[in-house]
Subunit: 203 residues, 2 copies
Amino acid sequence: MSSPPLGAPKGVSSRHGEILSVAADLFWAQGYDATSMSDLAAALGLSKASLYHHIETKESLLFDMSVVVLRRITAAVEAAADSSPEPLERLRAMVREHVVTALDHQTMNATSLTELRALSDEHRVAVTRMRDSYDRMIDEVIAEAQHAGAIRADISSKLLRLALLNLLNWTIFWFRADGDVSPADLADLLTSIFLQGALVASG
Amino acid sequence: MSSPPLGAPKGVSSRHGEILSVAADLFWAQGYDATSMSDLAAALGLSKASLYHHIETKESLLFDMSVVVLRRITAAVEAAADSSPEPLERLRAMVREHVVTALDHQTMNATSLTELRALSDEHRVAVTRMRDSYDRMIDEVIAEAQHAGAIRADISSKLLRLALLNLLNWTIFWFRADGDVSPADLADLLTSIFLQGALVASG
DNA sequence: GTCTATAAAGAGATAGAC
DNA sequence: GTCTATCTCTTTATAGAC
């Protein structure tokens, strides 16, 4: 199967992490299928055969990076969920962590989100399960805020979650780290739109 | 270059339109690079050589479908923009047309949005120009609503447009025509979130 | 307009030497 | 751990008959 990207003894696979990072950049820039193992080997300064000494298959790279980013964003947002007892404050903290963490590993997240169909059946199921679990966590916090009377209840928590993730996730397509808006500022802006809306009357 | 998908005499290239439609479904399901011309030919009930009698290159299919959907959504949203003199009503009508038109040709739109990097340099520039022009149209309507005092002015029209398109565009990743929400209902819901927000206090 | 056959290039992955 | 060389398969695209 695939080697453990996290949880392995320190240093044992720092090389693996570097390979995942470079692969993510290439996969995002050119597409997973359009990136050859020769491209990746060249970007790493290795021959193709040497590259295969460190990894199993091309597909395992895609799977491993999906697991890495999903574990990371789940851990970060779960921690944020524990930051306050107040539902609305929890939601704000989670949105901020989601945006900042997603943009901090932008190419891995973007690749994982858009290249899911390139995974093998088993790997795709595993990644989908992790995503579903993440979605449920968001659903629960939204539902909690609805029960507390803070968030409107005329829309189901599932649809509110879909709208919220719409608002957050498309950002990976256009965000540039060298632009004039920081991830934290962007998170605040998107939170404000989601909660207050764009109307003057409601600001 | 590429044959004219719109504007040609009726019937002359109805075959071309069918090919684009089938290609969009395959490109979206499997990815542009992962879909072979053999796959496409088989889906059309043709041999590969016969398929090449009707088209130029694989890449031209991707370009042509991008032009088709961009022309279509631009025309639909422009018409909606002319539907009312009131800025907020115009915005509502435009959002509805954007969502309904995008979902009406979901696989073409989704493919065009996510496979831009697979286009040749010249084709990519051409598509990007069309998209930029579309974005400017949205910017203008938002700026107009800001000047009319209907939309908050503490966020630039450009950032508001990015947030709005975030909210609308990610929908193509999860929307299912056989689900329990129609495109029109979804458009209303997303418009409501964008304008009023999710807070109870502002509803 | 459709076909069979094929050209020419590149893909993922491996063998085996060092 | 790294390399050169290679295997095998598939790719886009075309030639040329019907």
